[in-house]
Symmetry: C2
């Protein structure tokens, strides 16, 4: 039997190249090796977008289209919508008892996000508790592993703590600890060179961007502000064009040669930008074409089928959880 992994995205926008190198590319490989569940995390997205739910609901189909366009196969991967698996909410309620307020406050991922968002005690309880909701997601499918970036490791640790506590208190083995599959690719910076590519900063190149948008965004890319004339020596480190060439160009030697040339001077930004544009166009054109080949009804069908399959598994786990606690009154 294949091992199980759970992965997913908050559907707050179309997916971009940052998602591609960070996780999507991996998933295409992982779906052959594992029974892969891919969750459209609308409930989780709602925790910090509860005032603008349309930002979530309008993007669910877009995200599925992104999945399909890059090669996620719904016959291999189970794609489902979090909110349509109510068993996850029930599990969350049971798990909330097993986590102290202090423990949640010390979660580094949450701590960091609280800082980023400038929350203090005005932090919504839903957002604060979302690691517990994640534990529900992971355990519901008895995930053997979760592919994550380094910054998400504390979330998996929190989930595993809940698993151990649940199994100990309720004298059961029904919940399973998950391993981390660490994403090898570092986060991709935005075209402005600031932090990671992100929907909210509008500094990302989307998988669905048109040829013109790709060209425009590459032309805006941050390079080396001191590289004023072509003949000037340029800096490669922090130069977004080279970061993207490293990530997406297939000929590593060519890139190394270009870097040397750029460092020495005599290589203009326009040349490397054109090379990157060409590479991205080659890479994204078939993805865009595939994306446009799906009908809306197909997406609905995929979601219905995936969600039904996910629900069946989550139901079983919830049943075991209820049995373990003893909250099973009628046969």
């Amino acid at each position: 039997m294949k091992k199980v992994i759970l992965t997913g995205d908050r559907p707050t926008g179309k997916l971009h190249l940052g998602h591609y190198v960070g996780s999507l590319e991996n998933r295409v490989r992982l779906q052959d090796e594992y029974q892969q569940y891919i969750m459209i995390a609308d409930i989780q997205a709602l925790t910090d977008n509860f005032e603008t739910p349309e930002k979530i609901t309008t993007n669910v189909h877009e995200v599925v289209l992104d999945y399909l366009s890059i090669g996620i196969n719904p016959l291999k991967s189970t794609i489902f919508i979090q909110s349509q698996v109510p068993e996850l909410s029930e599990l969350t309620i049971y798990y909330l008892n097993l986590v102290t307020l202090g423990r949640l406050e010390r979660n580094p991922t949450v701590k960091n996000e609280i800082l980023q968002k400038g929350y203090d005690s005005s932090i919504p309880a839903g957002f604060f508790c979302y690691p517990v909701s994640q534990a529900a997601d992971i355990t519901a499918f008895k995930a053997d592993a979760v592919p994550v970036g380094e910054d998400q490791i504390p979330m998996i640790e929190q989930a595993n703590e809940i698993v151990r506590k649940f199994n100990r208190i309720y004298k059961t083995n029904c919940l399973k600890e998950a391993k981390v599959i660490l994403s090898k690719n570092p986060r991709l910076v935005g075209i402005d060179g600031q932090c990671k590519a992100s929907k909210s900063l509008a500094n990302a190149i989307y998988l669905s961007d048109s040829a013109e948008e790709i060209k425009r965004k590459v032309s805006l890319m941050y390079t080396d502000p001191k590289h004023l004339r072509i003949s000037d020596p340029g800096t490669v480190e922090g130069n977004v064009v080279f970061t993207y060439l490293d990530a997406f160009h297939t000929n590593k030697e060519e890139i190394e040669a270009l870097k040397a040339h750029y460092r020495k001077g005599g290589l203009g930004d326009s040349v490397i930008k054109e090379l990157l544009t060409d590479r991205l166009q080659t890479m994204l054109a078939p993805i865009r074409d595939k994306r446009n080949s799906f009908k809306s009804e197909e997406i609905v069908d995929i979601l219905i089928t995936g969600t039904r399959a996910a629900r069946d598994v989550a139901k079983n786990t919830l049943e075991e959880v209820r049995q373990s606690i003893g909250f099973r009154y009628f046969c």
Copy 2:
């Protein structure tokens, strides 16, 4: 159409005289005037008993028996088990986004309970968030009113805040604010005179206590420690026997006369204790008999029927809530 009320108990033990004067008596009256939902709050009880779930599960039937024995009529009142209405968990998850951590910390009822239990940051998140879960319970049934003691008023205020916030953000009127029906009867002290009668302090007289237990517990009642000889003047205030006589004896004049006599001196504790014992025996014997007349299968039937009815209503509300947020993807 009858107005709706929601009430209930944490099923952590059999119900006692404190419950009777505090709420059960009212419910028998209210079930004629209102559509009354009575919730066996096992999920809520689990928030501070999660390590001993059997304390809850073994008492569900006992509590229903207590209800039936004092005259709650399952044809008039809908008795249901909280955990068997999963829609309540889903509503809780949606409402958690609408309450800040700071607001929960300032809830006086929770603050007080945290103090009583000696929690600090070791407070379980489930317990901390239970006012939100209560908001889910109240709103799921579109309760017009909730009968509560004074100490529970902040909980209703919290629920109404969530209602207003939800309706405002999601531009709907699907949730309803609830009024408070204030319980007129003050809380009954325990037989030891300490605080309220409570399961955990083992200082309560249960509705199901045998004649011998009633006699024994009245004999142990705290009176006036300075009332050493019958001829001594005695104190009525804080004298538990008189508190109980006030609460349960039907002849108020007789009680006033006895109080005067006791104050003056010449009235022994044994006399007032015997009077109280007689009164409680008269009152509790038919309750006990009725309690013993139900078969276990009848209780299961009542719970199944009530839970099904409750679920239908909660489902409708959840459907409206999901529609309002927009989390409805498949028709």
